[in-house]
């Protein structure tokens, strides 16, 4: 059957920008991100998301920026957009799983972690390894909570934070 659906022109194309120019914008945004200039990075990537909404990387990195800011819903939304565009996106899935974990959406978190682990059988992908670590930590916390109660989990959290402060 002939596909009669008209391909929608991206704004970046309407503006006459070529792929290398778009890539240059992407690179500037990423440089800001690497340098910890997250506000500047967000300006660039939010603009890029408008110019080219079909770029999975842009949505993934925006998710990461929102996650840093504690904007959990926006982070989940951006990660989901990235995953929709590239379903083997381990980074976005691992990060989204961690946001779900933080929100107490354990089932969704477990599903994201399980997928990232399955996508990385060689255990070499850093994001999948983060998922593995989070699963291990969660299982530890569950064990502690089951044996000694929820308060013990909070105490352990405080202990870890204090030990971090001493270093």
């Amino acid at each position: 059957m002939k596909d009669t659906k008209k391909k929608e022109m991206k704004l970046v194309e309407r503006l006459g920008m070529n792929s290398r120019q778009e890539a240059a914008l992407l690179q500037i945004g990423f440089r800001f991100y690497q340098q910890g200039r997250f506000g500047d990075a967000k300006n660039i990537f939010e603009g890029l998301a408008l110019l080219d909404g079909n770029n999975a990387y842009v949505h993934g990195i925006l998710g990461s920026l929102y996650q840093r800011e504690g904007k959990d819903e926006a982070a989940v939304s951006s990660y989901s957009a990235a995953i929709q565009l590239f379903d083997k996106d381990i980074d976005s899935r691992s990060n989204r799983g961690e946001v779900f974990l933080k929100l107490g959406k354990f089932q969704e978190a477990a599903e994201d972690f399980a997928t990232t682990i399955r996508l990385d059988p060689a255990r070499k992908n850093p994001a999948a390894n983060r998922s593995r670590l989070l699963v291990a930590i969660t299982q530890d916390a569950i064990k502690l909570g089951k044996e000694k109660g929820f308060e013990a989990v909070q105490q352990e959290r405080n202990r870890l934070r204090q030990s971090q402060g001493r270093r």
Binding site: L25, A56, G60, D89, F106, R132, L133, Q139, L160
Partner: protein, 308 residues
């Protein structure tokens, strides 16, 4: 418990931030004295095999962190597999991003050009939102799809509408178009009892049936041009008339964007909200400042070379 006594600081930070996320999740789902959250977490995480994690990081039975595995965090977002896949699929943008020659072709040094291109072309193509409410646009020469489809003559004094022509509305006794409501004419709608005779401060059956709020001053459909609001607005079908507003009708393609300062028919589909316009402006400013910095660095390097 996982021990922090061994392993790198980097890894220890990973554990601490991870435990923090878990603890927050349990707090969000567990009220004091209840084990609801813990039980929910247990149900979801019981299917993972212990070996999956322990082998990875050398946790072993003592859960000692000593492995050398590399971990990511949301702050080190790289997504290499996405790039690998994009390059394999010949995605032009992501492939160019990884191209070590990017910049050699002048892309980075021409960033100011890119920015001005965004700014100027955005303006040319009407991305900047223009002033005018739907009613004002009609009064100022805008046209609607309804007009184009022959359902409404352009608003003007003495005009008639197809509604009149097909007998749904009597010709206005003076004045034209929809102004009939505000003038002294009567309509078939009135005659069949759907609308009370127009009068200052009058009300319509539409108001009576709750489809339109009473105009705050003026009457009938003038409500849109005045300060009143309509149920359409309230139901989210139309944004309140305001400078720079756009309507859902425009967005749904039922009304052409304003003909002055706005987007003409050839560019329909890129109607931007003011928020989107602000996003692009922010990006432009950031890029411009980056470009200036880039030029400064280049100039500085050049001058150092000259001095040497």
């Amino acid at each position: 418990m996982i021990s922090l006594n061994s392993g790198s600081t980097y890894l220890q930070n990973q554990i601490i931030s991870g435990f923090d996320s878990v603890a927050q999740g349990l707090t969000a789902t567990t009220s004091a004295g209840s084990s609801t959250g813990i039980q929910a977490a247990m149900d979801s995480f019981s299917s993972f095999e212990a070996s999956e994690m322990t082998e990875l990081s050398g946790l072993g039975s003592q859960q000692q962190i000593s492995g050398a595995a590399e971990f990511s965090s949301p702050t080190t977002y790289m997504n290499n597999q996405l790039f690998d896949s994009a390059i394999r699929a010949d995605d032009p943008v992501l492939s160019a991003f990884k191209d070590p020659q990017l910049g050699a072709g002048g892309e980075l040094s021409s960033i100011s050009e890119i920015v001005s291109k965004i700014a100027s072309q955005a303006e040319q193509q009407g991305i900047i939102i223009v002033s005018g409410s739907p009613t004002e646009l009609l009064q100022q020469g805008g046209s609607t799809r309804l007009e184009q489809a022959g359902l409404m003559t352009p608003p003007q004094y003495g005009g008639t509408t197809d509604l009149e022509q097909v007998g749904l509305m009597t010709p206005p006794q003076y004045g034209g178009g929809f102004d009939v409501l505000a003038q002294q004419g009567s309509t078939r709608l009135q005659q069949v009892g759907l609308m009370t005779p127009p009068q200052i401060g009058g009300s319509t059956e539409l108001e009576l049936t709750g489809l339109m709020t009473p105009p705050q001053y003026g009457g009938g459909f003038d409500a849109i041009a005045q300060q009143g609001s309509t149920r359409l607005e309230q139901a989210g079908l139309m944004t309140p008339p305001q400078i720079g507003g756009s309507t859902k009708l425009e967005q749904a393609g039922l009304m052409t964007p304003p003909q002055y300062g706005g987007i003409d028919g050839s560019q329909e589909g890129i109607v931007f909200s003011s928020q989107h316009a602000a996003t692009l402006t922010s990006m432009s400013k950031t890029v411009r400042s980056a470009a200036n910095l880039f030029q400064d660095v280049n100039a500085s390097m050049l001058s150092r070379r000259i001095m040497a």
